[in-house]
């Protein structure tokens, strides 16, 4: 009972946090905006993998390989490398949509235009260009802020309802076609003035200002091991209470992880040394991509290995097919992991240990760092590790190694759980074993409703 009360208290704290973070207008727009860009990002990633296919550089002549690469590269250059553009449109669109304006797509395009206005349109003395690098990692943070401000301004001016009065007799549709003109013009003028204003400061451009003041410190912090462990533990704790950890934590960390990812991609394509260990793929492939949050594919394997109780065997069987593709709700709610004090230790500990192992095996060069390729999170482990590290077998081996580590951490705890279930099954003639009866935690069902 004591235990239960403590959990209830924690849940009462966590649920409002999840609710607040999740219902925050800007974080929602950010998350859904990234979702819009995701298909393009994955398309581009596929072509980075194909362009760097293993052994091709040895099979083909140097010229043929270069021609092959330059034939495929536009696919990723037009999508993955300039993902910022799509994210900005996505955020602008999704934020405007929340205000239920008539054509939210204007919110998307006005955000992109505002961002381009703030962008230096010169590259090494060549004018009339937009450097693609600012649409990748470098400009990502400015892109997010610009999208927020542009969409808000646009919304503000639309709601003010300043329109051009047409003389009587002009068809309604004609005057309506101008209805977006004033809000867009005013919004973009504000950004142009901002740009001009910044040219008088030592930063010279807004790009430079945001990059130096916000993006650099934040990504430096986010690329470190301590911040990553904090994020990982938070995700595990949320899930322990049956709340979707990533949807809550990632909306804060995604901009940092994607920016770090893109720095690696640029280095990978340029053939230079990859700067970051912690990236979007570090999290998605080496932590989540191991059967789902908490690397539960290892738990399933362990069930096959040592499970004696009917309950666990059943859960293992049920959880295997989705688990291979990193969907693990049957395990999380079925084992259960949610609210189960017996598995709290391995649930939190295993991901932290794996984070540390993965971090050091990459920072010491034992395993190549993630190459900036966004592998869909539903890609089965082993394959995903291979792809994410830019077709390196070491990535696959690291995942296999980590699976074994997770199994070892879980072993004693799963053994106890299995024994409890087994004894209970022996002692009861009932077919259905309810978790509550075994662990003594009352109200497990009502708890989450």
């Amino acid at each position: 009972m004591e235990n239960n009360k403590f959990m209830q208290v924690l849940e009462n704290i966590l649920l409002p946090i999840a609710d607040k973070l999740n219902n925050n207008r800007y974080l929602t727009a950010l998350r859904d905006g990234f979702m819009i860009a995701l298909p393009l990002i994955i398309f581009g990633s596929m072509f980075v993998v194909l362009a760097n296919f293993p052994f091709l550089d040895e099979l083909l002549s140097k010229e043929a390989y270069a021609a092959y690469q330059s034939a495929l590269n536009p696919a990723s250059n037009a999508t993955l490398s300039i993902m910022g553009a799509f994210v900005i449109i996505g955020i602008g669109y999704k934020l405007t949509e929340q205000y239920k304006l008539e054509s939210p797509i204007y919110g998307g395009v006005v955000a992109l235009a505002a961002f381009l206005i703030l962008t230096p349109q010169v590259l090494e003395d060549v004018t009339g260009v937009i450097p693609t690098s600012i649409l990748g990692a470098e400009g990502l943070f400015l892109g997010l802020f610009t999208a927020f401000f542009a969409a808000e301004l646009y919304r503000f001016f639309v709601q003010k309802n300043w329109t051009i009065k047409m003389p009587a007799g002009v068809p309604d549709a004609v005057s309506k076609s101008f209805s977006s003109l004033i809000p867009i013009a005013l919004t973009l003028t504000v950004f142009l003035l901002t740009r001009i204003g910044f040219s008088f400061t030592p930063f010279e451009t807004v790009q430079n200002f945001i990059y130096t003041i916000i993006q650099q410190p934040l990504t430096a912090l986010g690329s470190g091991l301590p911040a990553t462990i904090v994020a990982v533990v938070l995700i595990q704790v949320f899930w322990f209470f049956g709340l979707h950890g990533q949807i809550i934590v990632n909306s804060v960390f995604d901009p940092i992880w994607y920016a770090l990812n893109d720095q690696n991609l640029q280095a990978f394509q340029a053939g230079t040394e990859l700067p970051n260990v912690i990236t979007k793929q570090f999290i998605d492939t080496f932590l989540v991509g191991m059967g789902g949050t908490g690397m539960t594919l290892a738990v399933i394997l362990l069930i096959y290995l040592i499970g004696r109780s009917r309950q666990l065997k059943q859960i293992g069987k049920l959880g295997t097919p989705p688990g291979i593709f990193n969907v693990n709700e049957p395990i999380i709610f079925g084992l259960p992991i949610v609210m189960n004090p017996l598995v709290l230790v391995p649930w939190i500990l295993a991901p932290v240990v794996v984070t540390v192992i993965t971090y050091f095996s990459m920072s010491t060069g034992l395993v190549p760092k993630p190459a900036g390729i966004i592998v869909p999170w539903t890609t089965p482990p082993i394959l995903s590790g291979y792809l994410a590290t830019g077709n390196a077998w070491q990535g696959a081996v690291l995942q296999a190694f980590n699976l074994i580590v997770v199994m070892l951490i879980w072993w004693p705890f799963l053994k106890i759980l299995d024994k409890n279930y087994y004894e209970n099954e022996k002692n009861t003639s009932k077919d259905k074993i309810i978790f509550e009866e075994i662990t003594g935690i009352k109200g497990f069902r009502d708890f989450l409703n």
């Binding site: 219902n23 979702m35 049956g242 049920l318 049957p330 079925g334 949610v338 978790f435 069902r445 409703n449």
Partner: protein, 105 residues
């Protein structure tokens, strides 16, 4: 025809359940359209649904969706975590039908 909508973060884990629910509905001869979407599309699809069930891990979104659901008169609830873990199609289908039955006309 009953329209039952399920939603979770990306519509993956709820789609496991959808398959089971469809099988059970067929067995019982209930005509039902059952489908799963990601949370960002839930509000759009709500218009076609008679009931919206959220994955228990998304239960903190109930409040957010309630506004639109109330407007449309679509009952909304989160799925029982035990049934969710067992991918118990029958229990969730029962709950969905129950919620539709209670719907104020």
């Amino acid at each position: 025809m009953k329209n039952i909508l399920l939603a979770c973060s990306s519509g993956m884990s709820t789609s496991l359940l959808v398959k089971k629910m469809q099988d059970i509905a067929k067995e019982r001869g209930i005509e039902a359209e059952i489908w799963a979407v990601s949370q960002d599309k839930a509000e759009i699809y709500m218009e076609k649904a008679d009931v919206l069930l959220l994955g228990p891990q998304m239960r903190f979104m109930k409040r957010k969706f309630s506004k639109k659901a109330d407007e449309l008169g679509v009952p909304i609830d989160s799925i029982d975590p035990v049934a969710y873990g067992r991918v118990d199609g029958a229990a969730v289908l029962d709950k969905a039908l129950d919620l539709i039955g209670k719907k104020p006309l």
